[in-house]
Assembly symmetry: C2
Homo-oligomer: 410 residues x 2
Amino acid sequence: MALLVKKYGGSSLATIDHIKKVAQDIAADHQKGNMVAVILSAMSGETDRLIELSRSVSDMPPSPREQDSIVSTGEQISTALMAITLENLGCPAQSYLGWHIPMITDSSYQKARILEVGKDNLMQTLNEGKVAVIAGFQGINDKGDITTLGRGGSDTTAVAVAAALNADACEIYTDVDGVYTADPNICSRARHLNMVTYEEMLELAGLGAKVLQIRAVELARKYKVPLLVKSSFGGNRYTWIREEESNMMEDAVISGVTLDRNEAKISVINIPDEPGVAHRIINPLAESAINVDMIIQNVSIDGFTDLTFTVPSTDLHQATSLIEKVAHEIGAKEVRTNDSIAKVSVVGTGMKNHPGVAARMFKALADENINIQMISTSEIRISCIIDSKYGELSVRVLHGIFELDNSKNK
Amino acid sequence: MALLVKKYGGSSLATIDHIKKVAQDIAADHQKGNMVAVILSAMSGETDRLIELSRSVSDMPPSPREQDSIVSTGEQISTALMAITLENLGCPAQSYLGWHIPMITDSSYQKARILEVGKDNLMQTLNEGKVAVIAGFQGINDKGDITTLGRGGSDTTAVAVAAALNADACEIYTDVDGVYTADPNICSRARHLNMVTYEEMLELAGLGAKVLQIRAVELARKYKVPLLVKSSFGGNRYTWIREEESNMMEDAVISGVTLDRNEAKISVINIPDEPGVAHRIINPLAESAINVDMIIQNVSIDGFTDLTFTVPSTDLHQATSLIEKVAHEIGAKEVRTNDSIAKVSVVGTGMKNHPGVAARMFKALADENINIQMISTSEIRISCIIDSKYGELSVRVLHGIFELDNSKNK
């Protein structure tokens, strides 16, 4: 007997028939004597419909508080529907909204962060032999308002609940059957992986692998929650995401190549090279909760320098407004933006012990005449910003160079 | 400057354009310096859609708790949409859900009763110069679950909020322009009334006038909240519902004739005429929150009697099951049901001082060969249960007999 947390995304809940099928899977786990907590997204398309609706009445962007109240109804409906479906199968169940749990968040509507998960109500329901069916994506802030966690936030809800309940595993059911060495749509020779470390997945998720939200993986690593990614549409494939084991992946240098098209580049040209300038430029973005990813500052020439960084494309418009204001204040020459960029990355814990990975990567891109605009590295990742049009090509080239389609490698 | 509570039903919120139009009315009242609290229903059709959805996943009736969670999203969406729309007009606004206020109810899901209305949060919002946009129809019980108040519950929400805030008036905007002497669809000579007392409206609402939920009128009478019924589709007509004034309606004997087709009749035949039997029969209905309206017990013959009563048609099936069980226990001969009945009533505070109203009513029905199956009376009302097929005819006959289409009467 185990305590399982199972999360189903919108595509697994697309229709009433989908909901009934998922309910059977849940009831089967419950029937085996497991304690089961389920986290659900809204039925597919519903979140977009509700966002569209909230925008339809106003010329201005809608109040974030009010939009969150509207959007959160998607999960409110899917969870109660699932509880009804489970009861119909003879499986006792009870739905939970964010404020029922409570799932306490900060006040950043539309991208709230979880501060605390109430454990007592959920454990009582599980101890009563019921399945707890929990609305993903939503929480409550200290004003008592509904907040939402941002796109893909239900993954984060699932991991937070699994951590709070000290679950044996957190199973993420989605429309893919796990993690691959590259996006199979881009690279036909991409290979399925049965296991990756949290660290690798963090780099993979953050770089556009689309399987899991990066926050969910971060949280799983912090609380050592074993994650299992599986397809809710059948098949036997899966990927475990967990701590590195000593006997694992000794020979693997690189575990995957990823491509991210969701960033845009902002350059602030000719700024005074003096203490505090970088802070003054970046801080307004932080205050508006805009994620800055890569940041590069050129060497200073004649007391002036350039600062270039990337932000999510969706935040480019807002970020540019903020930056243009600051640029004017500090006397910068101009602000340039570019959203036709892509970030291609190679990821792998093995590269810690294998020097020369960066050199091989840069050579492979150069051999294809692909210019590298920015570079950033971590212990287990090397990323290059390139012209968007070379995105797919670069993935295939790097997948070949690092012999990821050669199964002996893993 | 006044404190106004304004309630809009689903037909006033049918589309985005309806919502924008209502927002202009609200903003205009706010602009004049009034404090404004708004109570909204779900957009028209939405509640039915959500009930249908909650039934679509299950062969059994869905869990009432879960269904309430689903159905309450209708108002959650309409209120947040209205707040966004008002802000877009430059009118500051904030939405409120049942649990935000809090609107504390008992635990009878789907027909919860309001126990207490939190006043502090709402007053703070009003004092900050914002319009409070409140989800009608919903509350929270002592388990922290969402409850709904039953059909038309938003009227009750409006009056409860008006009472809690000690509002100057509670304006109910609907798709009719007030109260008539009879249903104009049945009786073409029906006359509009500018004013009725709470007591008259209670009888009229409870008897199928469809303008206001009876619970809302009861609550308004208890807390002396002046109610104004108006059409949200324009026109200058309205009806005030308030306390009787000494100089009002001195000559009016009857203010209206109503027809109610939403009841069904249950007879328990040949029951022992001993203490406690009526209680044993009726009590299971009370415990299941089924409203019993008229109750008639025959004179006893040889120690046996019959008990006949009416319940809402929608509860007939459940009521019959309960009653058949009890009938068996107490040794009754049989249980008969009939849902092709109608209740026709004449209502008016004037009849207190005018004897002979009942006699005139019975004679008018007899003259048309309409058989009276049951009779009940109050101080200001006389009701007869008749065969359903004579419903419209009886309204027209009584409307004529009591000279309601003669404006000299009022």
